[in-house]
């Protein structure tokens, strides 16, 4: 029994045992997708909404058959949307597709090179979606003031990036993530930019409530093994945060008693 065994992540009133959220893109095939998601221990998984003639082999099962909504909390995203209007439209389609499901991951992109969010458009879309009853988990840059505004607007989770989407650079600005955590009134999840297990642990040790990732697992040499590593890293990082790290010191401090030494 560890302290973190009764430490659920609560999003929009629902409790989750895992603080790792994963995307389902970029895998080799559906078998690898299923195995990696299972190894990650994630309970919330993101999906994308696309035209039915895009990105699917006719014979291949649908992602929702492989990862069924009665087993996972499906988080439809607005990836690829560059305007508030497109993002809202995508969420509406997702809600129809998922029988009235209200949880969505909002991202409105501003630039193809960085995939940084267009924050004015993101806020516009968030406002429309919240008014329409959506429970919005919002992707944003690591700006503490905007994080506060989005929480005040009624977003159910605020998700600052660690680094650009798919870059694997790890947490680029730990100070800002910490500022965001300090002022948080809703769950804060680091979304995007994690590259390897230590990056996920670093994010969790900053006190964020969870981490959302896709490429770090899918683009690893062995995705299923990396998924297992991320599962542990997020748990380890959470436990370290709850435990509270020792103070850093410039000089050594002996770990063994300095008395009773043999002559």
């Amino acid at each position: 029994m560890t302290e973190s065994s009764n430490d659920p992540l609560i999003i929009a009133g629902i409790e989750y045992g895992s603080r790792l959220l994963v995307g389902t893109g970029k895998y080799k095939d559906m078998d690898e997708t299923r195995a990696a998601i299972q190894a990650s221990g994630a309970e919330i998984i993101t999906i994308a909404i696309r035209r039915t003639n895009i990105g699917q082999n006719p014979g291949e099962p649908n992602i929702l058959d492989v990862l069924p909504p009665d087993k996972y909390t499906i988080l439809p995203n607005t990836a690829g949307c560059y305007t508030a209007k497109d993002a809202v439209r995508t969420c509406m389609l997702a809600r129809e597709l998922l029988d009235g499901h209200q949880l969505c991951k909002l991202e409105v992109l501003g630039d193809e090179k960085t995939l940084y969010p267009d924050m004015p458009a993101t806020m516009e879309a968030a406002e429309t979606l919240i008014k329409d009853g959506f429970k919005v988990m919002v992707y944003m840059n690591d700006d503490p003031i905007l994080a506060k505004r989005l929480a005040e607007m009624g977003c159910v989770a605020v998700m600052p990036l660690a680094a650009p989407i798919g870059s694997g650079l790890g947490v680029r600005n730990p100070h800002n993530i910490r500022f965001i955590v300090e002022e948080a009134t809703v769950p804060i999840l680091v979304d995007a930019g994690v590259g390897t297990a230590s990056d996920a642990a670093v994010a969790m040790e900053l006190g964020v409530d969870g981490v959302l990732m896709n490429t770090a697992i899918a683009a690893a040499g062995k995705p299923v093994l990396m998924a297992a590593a991320m599962n542990k890293a997020v748990r380890a990082g959470r436990e370290a945060w709850l435990a509270g790290r020792m103070p850093k010191k410039a000089y050594a401090s002996a770990s063994s008693p300095e008395t009773g030494l043999i002559d």
Partner: protein, 67 residues
């Protein structure tokens, strides 16, 4: 004959059809999809009632893997 656009591609429909019939025609029955006609979502409960009109822009979307 109806000339419509489905997912960005032109498609000729033989005659008056409902959304449900179009879905069957495209072998998409029973799949998890969402339909939009001219920018408005047509809820699943309406598929057998709503008729497709000449010139309609129809979007049929599904879920795929994504981050």
């Amino acid at each position: 004959m109806l000339d419509v656009i489905v997912n960005g591609e032109s498609r000729i429909l033989a005659g008056s059809v409902t959304v449900k019939e179009l879905i069957q025609d495209m072998d998409l029955q029973g799949k998890r999809i969402a339909i939009e006609i001219n920018g408005e979502i047509v809820p699943a409960s309406q598929h057998s009632r709503v008729q497709i009109s000449d010139g309609d822009h129809i979007e049929i979307v599904g879920a795929i893997g994504g981050g």
